[in-house]
Symmetry: D2
């Protein structure tokens, strides 16, 4: 019974079907008809013009998005537990040619204008110190917590006032939108670029970089190719994304994963380390308890010495979730 | 009737099946069972130990392979029409942190020890000039021509004598092996790393970097992740590659593509700009002739003002090939 | 009366004389006779073989030294207030091609094996996290505090046990040696490379990178040229360094600066934020007090809202120091 | 008798004097009074507004100038024998983060709109090929030949029409101006940035980057620091440059060097490989003849198997020049 990662989940049948439908000759790279539909599809979804590039990983999506905002001698401000800081092997340093990450505090891996200012304000505006050029926030956060639209708006206003770009790592953007019950436009707010994740949510290998700064996308097309991320049979990438957006499949999948997480969280309200707003549950759990759970067939990650991380997927099986709920209640 | 690129070809049914079979929960990234089988599978194929990483493009494969051999202040020697020089958007400069490509001559985009020496010998061994650290050759070459085993051996001996690494860009390695009728080990010779292509030959999105220097692969695993090329559902990447190797599917596919190319070449022996040894045909062809061919439904690239490039695929349709042969003979 | 920075101090007459003596034709770059003497001179000074390169700034010295130890995908562990982190404009990210700095705690900007371990131990040894490859310590530290030989030895043992390189930023190495009263070899301990500063101590524009890993220097000679730091009239760089080493001028100058700092510190023992062990004094000082001091002609930096930083130089004038002592006592 | 390189020449007494005059406390880095005078001084010299940064080498000057024009995924077009291609150890790849040099032909190492177009026109405007962003020309060229103002104007018009930046490597700009007998503004034409060399012409260690695009200089100040090229006692750098510009010392020195070269060239008109327009003479010369010259005490570089390169300096001694003239005539 898998609660390790939403990366282990299956590919949704609709995605499979779309990929197989795409298996007819078409132009290579992103010159195919499906890739050509992305800009309009996302523009309609967000209600404003955007330019969209597919890539094969969230790491590539985040770093190419940031490459549009940050020169090699600049910096990105992000939470100190952000994925780009903790789990991407230094990819921002690679894609941004040595630019720095400046690390902000904030509850449940969410920053605020105040915690951002605490990092930025002490920086002297001289050539000896690395100057910030962008902010990156994660929706939902590394701890499965969601920025409300007014919180995103406050950060966007802060970014604008400081002349900084704003990027949103949306590896679990669908889960955030499902939680908020608002439009994707409201959940993204006035960001300049969004890494819109699909792989954790029923896709196979395609993430979208959504540039609301359309001009920026032109440059990043060169950067994507240069990073080896312009796949030659790109039609299979676009097919996945379009299938996920069709009939709100992305939202349905996220709702299913969120519901499973909520059910699990409901069983252990006193153990929760963070509010459960998406599809991740962080809970206090001794080593003995973890052993007990694993002994019953549940797979998940330790989170330090006295806690565990459980992640639910779009294809979470009701019986597995119920079994886990019972097992947790029995601890 | 598609003769534009082997990138436009379909995905082989066996590859589809393997991918669907892989759609069960397994560990993320390359910790799954299928990815775990790659090293042994390729070691058996080549008859010597190797370590294998999947990536999503030939550009990434070439550049990560070279990153194992060339420091940022060094250089790679390659043919002046090599893919890494002409068609990868400067990716070597990105992955190798500014290392240079030094450009050698050679017929049909193949280098020789003599043409390599003509580039390397004039370089003073001092700090003012960029020093070569590796050679990269393409099997089959950009013009669809194949290095014979003795030619690879001569280049490998040259590389060893000069203390240089040797990389082979095998985007069409299968076509070369099919042409040579030798073992893959013989076609690769004593290279240190091979970019073994599958996407042009029936795969969807997975290429293999085969490191015969097994230790080098350890470092490149970090580099792959850092470049955003460690996909989270890597089992679908490994599945493609394993399916292609099963029962010599890779060779069967390449033979089919080569046979189609040979049939076309046979129709226009006097027009050929290069020997047709793989699945590419470069032929003299006026603008009027190209218009005539396109008028009959054939799609292909111009190659300068007076020539055309046609590429055949593993799924080349006999009727299309026959039609093209007739159309060419009628010119 | 200047207490802003030792960078504002004069060039020592012996350095001037050596530079003028060097104004005869000699081979360009570092092929001149003076540059040729550096390795032997430093090897004698440290009692073990070393290879020495001059560069024009401490930033270049630190980053080129680290470039010998840390691959682009790796990291350096240093104190969170280290110069390479705070004051070099992201130069490590440039010279190391995106490698990270991992930030350790420690009193008075000095790390310990414990604070280093607190950074390193949580890092999972997998490809998702950036792995440390070197430690960089500063002798004397950013707060003018000195590592004792046993402290350096403990850090070197820690580095060795972890397989990490060890670099020492010795922008004020002379002040540290003067304070310790030990040999330079004892003050440097088992570091792999030392940035040996001269500019703050009576030189004009030449710092030395001392590689105790002699082989590493070979590669860094290419890197130095590639960074534009191989000056064509290098004889004037070597001349400065040799003059500073002659008759222990570097130690005499440092002793003079340290003595001036000690005199000032003695006037305000209760205000000191850090022990005064080199030529820097950090003291609590209100805005009104700072105004009062400046009104009397003393130039220095604020250090946050309630403190000041004063730096003494090799050419500190006794009258200025005495005046400052009196002014501080009168606060 | 030195004819190896103008790098071996002495520092002019006026430069020494200015440096010693600068040996009073002043603000560090480039916050001193002398550095503060550079912009106005060069603006007056060129008759248009410019922003000026000192650096310690021509390599740093060229690469920082180009960094203002060329993104990491772009390219610079230059002559195939340009210094940035042949003699800077790949520094453009380092400073420009992997951007490429595209190599043009042209007599005596000078490009023309035609030879530039021959490189640029075949580049497809798609993401697979590296796109040019700037042109770099060398005044005087690597072979000591000078672009006339109308030739620079034609290249500048070409650059503007193609949307490319234009950089001039003026390591020997003074020699070019001296040859042309025109204003420096006319010799530089409508370039965006000029590397104005002083070290080969009587300076010690200071070159100027002259940005006519003043805004670009703001960014490059960060890049200079990040490259370790912001020296802390920058007043000695500014002092050199100001001394060279005072009373046209730079022109007087260049005239002296050019005159010496002209005298030598006059002795061997039939041997000259390139017109002698600056301070370099390239002449046919057998190995036996070179031995004979060296036997008489003349130092110079071989230039391939059958030629020699001789360089004259601002301090060329009349007796040495006369002796060389006689020796050449006697060959």
């Amino acid at each position: 019974m898998q609660f390790m990662s939403d990366n282990t989940a299956a590919v949704h049948p609709a995605v499979w079907k779309a990929m197989m439908d795409a298996d007819a000759p078409d132009a290579p790279y992103d010159n195919d008809a499906l890739s050509g539909r992305l800009d309009a599809t996302f523009s309609a979804l967000f209600g404003r013009e955007c330019a969209v590039l597919w890539v094969a990983s969230g790491t590539a999506a985040n770093c190419l998005a940031l490459a549009a905002m940050v020169p090699p001698h600049g910096a990105v401000v992000c939470h100190r537990e952000a994925h780009i800081e903790m789990d991407e092997a230094g990819a921002p340093g690679f894609f941004l040619h040595g630019a720095k990450l400046l690390l902000a505090q904030g509850q449940s891996a969410r920053v605020t204008p105040e915690t951002l200012a605490a990092v930025i304000d002490p920086i002297r505006d001289d050539v000896h110190q690395v100057q910030p050029h962008a902010i990156s926030i994660t929706q939902a956060s590394e701890y499965g917590c969601v920025y409300r639209p007014d919180e995103v708006a406050a950060i966007a206003a802060f970014a604008k006032a400081r002349g900084l770009g704003l990027h949103m790592d949306g590896a679990r953007f669908a889960n955030a939108v499902a939680h908020l019950g608002c439009s994707p436009a409201a959940a993204a707010g006035a960001v300049d670029a969004l890494s819109f994740g699909f792989v954790k949510n029923g896709g196979m290998s395609a993430e979208a970089i959504v540039f609301f700064d359309v001009e920026a996308a032109r440059t990043i097309r060169y950067r994507r190719k240069r990073a080896g991320h312009l796949q030659s049979k790109g039609r299979f990438m676009a097919a996945q994304i379009l299938a996920m957006l069709e009939d709100d499949l992305w939202l349905d999948n996220a709702r299913a994963a969120n519901a499973a997480a909520a059910a699990i969280a409901g069983a252990v309200p006193d153990r929760l380390l963070h509010p459960v707003e998406a599809n991740e549950i962080f809970l206090t759990c001794t080593a003995a308890e973890r052993d007990a759970l694993r002994g019953q067939g549940f797979a998940f990650y330790d989170w330090g010495a006295d806690a565990a991380r459980l992640v639910t997927s779009w294809d979470a099986k009701g019986a597995h979730v119920s079994a886990l709920v019972r097992a947790l209640e029995a601890l």
